[in-house]
Subunit: 250 residues, 6 copies
């Protein structure tokens, strides 16, 4: 479903789910920063005379931007990193000097890992497995009981230490760092997520209802782009390519 495209070439469902995920980040982080008995006992926004928590977001796409906005809305000190300067400009335009933007080179990533109370991986590389940007020894340099949230876990995660967890048992500790790696966190706010999906899909569903699946897919290229198999034929060029390679490499 996430592969369905809109007329403008963007993926509306992916966008909506990323907006939701981004906004959930401070709820998750705030919960594990403060949770009795394990967490650090730190308040995201601080109080007069006590500094707020330091939040680092790697990736300034839709989920990163939404997370930056929500963390900043709670008063946390936010740093956001990306290699795309235009995305960082977009962040500055939205959030002004509430948020520090940094170029995502190795140097800045390592530095920010060290001062982060919360580190959010919000990198998304379409259609490919996310590379392990962070090594185990880098995670080990984070402060004890700081929070590492990996939104890229669906695609393999951005850290060597990432492995998928569930909403029912969402965290584990590695290298002294609390890892939160739930693949599909929007399921936690299913009512909001369902409505967001419905708003996007309602027209397509109506078309399918009227024409039947096959005719609808023929007529509507956007829908087709979200279809893996039709009558046993694969419709996703990347997948075809992928399996062709595997075949020939045997």
């Amino acid at each position: 479903m996430e592969l369905i495209e809109g007329d403008d070439g963007t993926r509306p469902i992916l966008t909506a789910m990323s907006e939701i995920a981004g906004q959930l980040a401070p709820i998750i982080a705030g919960n594990y920063l403060g949770r009795d008995p394990m967490g650090k006992g730190v308040l995201l926004g601080g109080v007069a005379g006590v500094a707020p928590a330091s939040v680092v977001i790697l990736g300034a796409g839709t989920s990163g931007l939404n997370a930056a906005c929500a963390f900043s809305g709670l008063g946390a000190q936010v740093h956001i990193l990306d290699r795309d300067l235009n995305k960082l400009r977009e962040v500055r335009r939205h959030l002004g000097n509430h948020v520090t933007t940094l170029f995502a080179d190795q140097n800045n990533i390592i530095k920010s890992l060290k001062f982060a109370d919360v580190f959010l991986g919000a990198v998304l590389i379409h259609g490919r497995r996310t590379p392990n940007i962070l090594k185990r020894e880098q995670i080990a340099q984070m402060k004890p009981l700081s929070i590492f949230i990996d939104f890229s876990i669906d695609e393999g995660g951005i850290s060597e230490t990432s492995r998928p967890t569930t909403l029912a048992d969402p965290i584990y500790i590695e290298e002294g760092v609390i890892h939160y790696c739930v693949p599909n966190i929007t399921a936690g706010v299913n009512r909001t997520a369902s409505r967001a999906l419905a708003n996007i899909l309602v027209d397509q569903l109506r078309t399918i209802g009227q024409l039947g699946v096959k005719a609808a897919l023929e007529q509507n290229a956007n829908l087709r782009r979200g279809t893996y198999l039709l009558d046993g034929v694969c419709l996703i060029p990347e997948l075809i390519e992928h399996f062709k390679d595997r075949k020939s490499s045997r």
Copy 2:
């Protein structure tokens, strides 16, 4: 400790703890609104096309104002009620038209209970047991699985359905409503809270260290106001009065 006063007659420790509590409210609410499997599955801030959650705050004192600011920072739709119009003015000054202010008469309280996804009791009546402002049948009119947080639980709570819980086991359901009634929620962010306390107490502790407890209390009226018993003598006028009454009433 919460009875110690500053030179301006306010209670600095109570203020700091209320600021912290207020900021924790959206973390708590966001967690139980979305939590798998029980919660409503609602995102506090909504997304484009899906309305945000409705948050009602009863009481526009320090904790209410801080909660309003934090909920609003996450994009929730906030209503705040108080009988003191100057406090509501203060809210409007801070948060402008992000937040709706309502006079806390019975009519508005009942109405807002019905549309609230989150209802936060942030009423504080100094030195007295909070009256049970909300009746069981009113709580029962709230929407199923909405959240009721009672910050007044230390003083008895604002609802007939309130009873103290703990950080380890913080919620229970009554009348279909999730109750969160942890008396001392700032303990959950103990590091931030301790620093806030230290900033306030450092000078007093230094005085005590230099002079000894007794001389320090003699010299410093603010400290004395936070002292229950000194050499077996009660120093809190309200307590003396209270026990005198009980004695004579026997």
Copy 3:
């Protein structure tokens, strides 16, 4: 004139006029909400302890967005509806959580009609008559003396109950609802509107002055797009099509 296009395919004059119209909406609404002796007697922004007016805007294009911004600037509680989620995202980016965005399905439209003190129709379907989205019985469900402003009245209006009025006699009541359906409301602020037009047209007028009308139209495709007839020949493809159909259908 509204059909003239800029190099980027947008219609600059239509845009400018929509910006003006949107900003006029709260002046109109505020006037009829409060007007002696007929109006509801409600202040758009409320005061401490009294809720602000509820404003619903159908359509998040240029005029809807400008209206949302202006109503929100006066402290009203604004809901804005559209079927285009990207437009709603644009609203959230501009106005943050001051404004609630809703998907414009039948359900949300009906619900919001019921709680609106002001309902603004800001739908524009280019080059076609606006369909009567609202039925008479739906308008009848609005609160007595609430305001219905129809910016689509030039194209036929969005309600069965809409009919054009004039700046001199701008309102009428149907189903207990005050209707304001002035087709060309920017004429009310003619000085600002004229300057906005002049800023857009000054270069085109200069070209026409130098080359004469005919040569200017030949050279400038944007201008041509705003020309109905040249030497007795119709230049607007949609119109040609339209009349061809009518001919053949006879």
Copy 4:
């Protein structure tokens, strides 16, 4: 009723009515700036490339501050004048650099009269007739068809050219300037105003209901301060003084 005081020495009803009046100012001004056929045809907030209207507010008390906030919320260019620098500081704190603050000396008043599209008199001198700060020849220097709103008209008005009008027939032209001098403009939004009053008076009315008028007045000094005559005896010191003077001066 406006003389009743709160425990803090302020006059809560006067404050609430001033808040309402201030917020009404841009509705009034916007209406007469743009009204067909007489007004200047100017949009308060301007559009891209066309400057907004210039609004000058004389007096930075409750009504002036609320008007500044509302005008500024619509995008007008606001100047506010007062002789009390602390009030101007309060404006800067609220509205930052949206609004220019000027010391209300003769020089600044005259200068700002000349560039104002809207001039709002929001001066209030408690318990005394407002002096005619503005002379006829000064009003005559205003731009043709600019708007002059006099909120002090209840106390005599701030201009020689001011004379009371009514909500039914609110304006007249003198020296080419549209004068709006309705004494009790909050009556135009009677529903909001009544609720605001009720929120303030509800406790007093309950006391009166329980004790009767006389006992209530004896018990409650605040109420007494709003009572002109009780059993034929005048309770307002200023009035007693005033009539004593008149007597003795005969």
Copy 5:
């Protein structure tokens, strides 16, 4: 280097340098407005009761927008002019009613020269010498000791009175106006500028390092666009054209 293009056709280095230049404008202006003994002695942001300085920015591109944002952040009263209404719209979207947008016709330019304490020329016409938009007699109409900053000085300057200066000796006075015409002002904040450059160039430099200059230029069209000569052959079409014209005109 400034001619290198990104994939989206923009020039990332020019953009970054313009962002820096724009933010430097209020530091420069504030310094010469206040400098002892020569300047006007005016504070950019004013104080309660004293109006802020008037800043006029000609050109709403990257440097103009950044300057508007920074001047406005210090509390100055900013007017920004451009002939492109979409750029002015962008300013309004960013900075709301903090800033007045004006169409850059002769009339508005002359008017704003007269009231400006600071006039910033931020016009950029790609690849061509900036025309002398301002005549000497217009500069002479500016207030004595007002500041004229010319960001277009690299391309010839926007005023007849502009001539290049240096960071070491940055200003001169003509017609009573302080001229600041340093061609490469970003050199003053070389550390920030170098990092900004490095962030943009790092990938290109890596490619050059791996492939050698020639292969890198062959592969990468963006880099090629920033190359004047390769093996004695000119790669910039405009330059070729330019010299061809000169040849043939001899």
Copy 6:
């Protein structure tokens, strides 16, 4: 003049001068951060991908708050320290999460000296010489070519390394740190400062003009508080005390 008091016990001239000084701080800092050839070459606000400068302000009184607001308006990352938590609360209320507030204990002061690009001493202890809060070895820990501005230099300065300079020759380097210690920096914006003074003094001057100095001082206690000697008699109790002590100590 700075000792003259207003009716509310504050010192209006001191307040106005502190507001001006605070707003000048980023102009000074920006100038010496970037100045060729000596400064660090850092831009206060950073750009997309490059972090802004770190500014530390010691003291959250009028000048500190105004400086925080102005630095933050330019996009710098601001930390402000004070021992008075209510002042820090005031900062949070004004500037929200743009600014980090820290309790001014030794620990936080030392830490923030180390990361500051700009350190502003904005401490004021009324009527007494400011204690040397900062030792030479602490200043030596600051980063090379960072800026140290001492607003307390009139009262002796807050650092062992502080010594008064002049507007004509404002800086010197000690321990690798650029010191800016001009005692009366508001003289640099003399026009704005004079108007601010005039607005405060105009009524007093009128009284003096009408009554003569002596009668005016007798009548007006506020004026008297700003008078050192009248007819050879000292009027300032602290001074009398001071010289009595010195006499007796001989």
